[in-house]
Symmetry: C2
Subunit: 235 residues, 2 copies
């Protein structure tokens, strides 16, 4: 027999999870009650509850007060997607950082008046195989904020830069993913023809009042890098 290691609540958790993995229990089936499990493992309800809460958090089971615990029907429509600012192996060749008059689309995003200025940061990401992505980021320009200017020169992740602009770190990011033909300039910089579709990934950093405080857009060449997401129980 394998050694039973670690805290009691983890041993119970693993035992129950194994039962579910092996198909001994199907969605809709009832689990033993907390009291039954406590007796079975010679422990108390509080310890058993900890095991069950773990399974519940993973979406494997759910509690029905007054009745018992039941195996859940797993959902496969919520996905986890990882998108890192700095491509893992990608060499990020710096392109430009400027204060410019905001183009109309950027003005709309930040709700700025015509003529307002924004900070624009452009980068080209390359790998061994060639150019992979072109990245544009925008921040509202606030006079006399040298902090930002200094830090932008270093490789501080964009979310962290955005974070300095708000009084609290409570903000969220909305990502939009679409397919498009690249603007001529972008195609040129990516070294592909404008008829080649690219993946466009937009990120809107929104504060608690749903105002946009940072915006980034990345063009991904279709022949490199895919976006990957997962749902369910990946080992």
């Amino acid at each position: 027999m394998g050694q039973e290691l670690g805290p009691v609540y983890l041993r119970i958790y693993r035992a129950l999870k194994t039962e579910l993995q092996q198909g001994d229990k199907k969605p809709g089936d009832e689990l033993p009650s907390e009291n039954a499990l406590a007796a079975q493992y010679s422990t108390t309800r509080m310890t058993v509850r900890k095991s069950l809460q773990l399974l519940e958090r993973e979406g494997l089971i759910h509690a029905w007060p007054g009745k018992g615990y039941y195996v859940s029907q797993p959902s496969h429509d919520m996905f986890r997607l990882e998108f890192r600012e700095d491509a893992a192996q990608g060499a990020a060749s710096f392109k430009s950082i400027d204060v410019i008059r905001a183009p109309e689309d950027i003005r709309d995003i930040f709700s700025l008046r015509p003529g307002s200025r924004v900070i624009e940061i452009c980068r080209l990401i390359s790998e061994d195989s060639g150019r992979v992505a072109y990245d544009m980021k925008y921040l509202p320009y606030i006079k006399g904020n040298p902090l930002i200017e200094q830090e932008i020169n270093f490789f501080v992740p964009f979310p962290d830069i955005v974070s300095r602009m708000v009084p609290t770190f409570f903000f969220y990011t909305r990502m939009e993913i679409e397919a498009a033909l690249p603007p001529e300039q972008v195609a040129f910089r990516l070294g592909c023809v404008p008829a080649d579709p690219v993946l466009v990934i937009s990120r809107y950093f929104m504060d608690q009042k749903d105002a946009c405080i940072g915006y980034g857009r990345r063009y991904l060449r279709k022949d490199h890098e895919k976006l990957v997401a997962y749902s369910g129980y990946r080992e």
Copy 2:
């Protein structure tokens, strides 16, 4: 003052969360110890722990055994993406369901021998504004499995159909998102020209042994429907 409702651990949780939202505490700052909070709220450590675990699960704070609790630096590179089988308002006009000899790409996905057959389900999704998406789904064909044939005619979500094929409900989905030009047939059915890029969303349903047990591919017209994902603390 607003009424303080609900269990004690939720009141403590809300009080602490409000402090974080208002920026009273910044990432890296230390929180009061469990004992201090228990005294402050005239309760016990176990109750306070429950509040803190909630915040910890949300990624807002982390515990450092032997030291204390600290406000976390939130990460903005893990996103939540919702992808529903049946477009919310989209009228799913049924197109075809057939048993066919697997094309080479599908054979590779399922690791099938040449000549093997698969079930192919095609659907065209339309909205008021017009055709939005074209959907292809594949399952290995297993003789004498009338269950599947019967159920496929109804609008059972694909993950649930796939679920019947495995002894346990433990499987995961891998999604790949890319930009591409649509194959001629797909462009025709979507009512767009082949030079118009589309979003291609592939889903691989994988069992515990990393074998593919179901595959779906959706072509999304670029002028409709974007994929949207979120990270961080959305209210």
